[in-house]
């Protein structure tokens, strides 16, 4: 597990921690069933406030990445559960909807939009 905090980042620190943990959980660097360091341990190691790490963990919990278990700490959940998939699907739909709406307001044709989409896919 690794966490690197940047003060130049647009993201607030709690979100940086959340996103980095999420990425490592999704790509398998942090294994399902493993226990994350305690909120206070992590705050001390990374040198950020306890409130900041608390928020990162509670976000991860809401999004279904971890569960806090009495006496065990925060345990990493399986990433192929439905909740996660659903959330990712929602985020994809949201992003695409924004793109479509923007294209419509500027009068872009469907073809043009699809062209952009294909180009981006090939990147």
């Amino acid at each position: 597990m690794k966490i690197i905090i940047s003060n130049q980042s647009e993201l607030p620190i709690y979100a940086q921690i959340r996103e980095q943990l999420k990425e490592q959980i999704l790509n398998g660097q942090i294994l399902e069933g493993s226990t994350l360091p305690s909120i206070r341990q992590l705050a001390k190691e990374v040198g950020v406030s306890v409130i900041t790490t608390t928020r990162a963990y509670s976000d991860l919990e809401t999004e279904g990445f971890i569960a806090s278990m009495q006496g065990k700490g925060s345990v990493v959940l399986s990433t192929d559960n439905n909740l996660l998939k659903e959330q990712s699907l929602m985020r994809i739909e949201e992003g695409l909807t924004t793109a479509i709406e923007t294209a419509r307001t500027m009068g872009m044709s469907e073809e043009e939009l699809l062209h952009i989409f294909k180009n981006l896919l090939e990147r």
Binding site: P12, R40, A43, K44, G47, I51
Partner: protein, 283 residues
């Protein structure tokens, strides 16, 4: 559970009034107490340590007030100020003896551990210690006791960045078990930026802002741009506008970000910038 409760705290001096300070600090958290010189930071901390008596109000540590039980109250406090408080003609062994006689929870073993960890010489007179060594000696004396609240008044002043970082880590270790808390004032706000959970900001003896640090930083935007592009509505909303020859810089409450057009630049402020603009604003 609240560790420190400060209610309606006021102190009247001839030339200065500290007015109606209110906050609570839960167990296991760190509060940064900020404000410009002469704003009442030390006065507040001196009231908490009971070096001075308040004119009005109430302070409790773990539910105990100093009036109810002065010994139990003070036993819980570890204080470090910006001035060295041991006599300069002492050596480390004299301090060890004094602490041992004074404080029932003082552990000579822990104390010696810290001396070793920070290479503090036993036989050298303290007057020959550097500022950094003196500060670490104060930390050693406080950390070898079983305290619940660490009160630091500009304790990191005059220390190099390496030492300041070490002290920040010490403070985080101190609150690790979730039972102990820290309140500290400092001019070097970047110290606070990362580890403080709460910020209390006072100016001229009055509360300006008090919130969780993350909330505070997210509540405001630092806006930069050309003065001529500012609408009258935006002008009213801007906090503490500082002009220069080529533009302006000000704070704006995040929920009013809608007033900003593309001609402005904005970013997250740091605590320093929040303090500077609020003081400029005179609120």
């Amino acid at each position: 559970m609240e560790l420190l409760e400060v209610k309606n705290l006021s102190k009247h001096y001839k030339a200065f009034d500290l007015q109606n300070i209110n906050f609570t600090l839960p167990k296991g958290y760190i509060m940064g107490y900020v404000g410009p010189n002469g704003s009442g930071k030390s006065t507040t901390l001196n009231l908490i340590t009971n070096i001075c008596k308040c004119t009005e109000g109430e302070i409790r540590i773990n539910g105990i007030s100093c009036e109810e039980d002065a010994v139990a109250y003070k036993e819980q406090i570890g204080y470090i100020g910006d001035e060295f408080y041991f006599p300069n003609n002492f050596k480390v062994k004299n301090i060890r003896r004094v602490l041992q006689n004074f404080y029932p929870t003082f552990s000579a073993k822990k104390f010696d551990g810290f001396l070793q960890r920070w290479n503090l010489p036993e036989k050298k007179p303290i007057k020959d210690f550097s500022r950094g060594m003196k500060v670490m000696l104060m930390f050693a004396s406080v950390l070898s006791r079983d305290t619940k609240l660490m009160v630091l008044d500009e304790a990191t002043n005059g220390l190099d960045p390496v030492m300041r970082t070490e002290i920040l880590q010490l403070l985080q270790e101190y609150v690790m078990d979730g039972e102990r808390s820290v309140i500290f004032s400092t001019h070097i706000l970047s110290d606070l930026e990362q580890i403080a959970d709460y910020i209390y900001f006072i100016h001229q003896g009055r509360t300006v802002l008090y919130d969780a640090k993350d909330e505070l930083i997210e509540s405001y935007l630092l806006v930069k741009g050309e003065k001529s592009a500012v609408s009258s509505e935006l002008e009213k909303a801007l906090i503490g506008v500082i002009d220069n020859a080529y533009g302006f810089e000000a704070l704006l409450s995040s929920d009013q970000a809608g007033l900003l057009g593309t001609e402005f630049q904005y970013e997250k402020p740091n605590i320093d910038q929040i303090v500077v603009h609020f003081i400029k604003d005179g609120r």
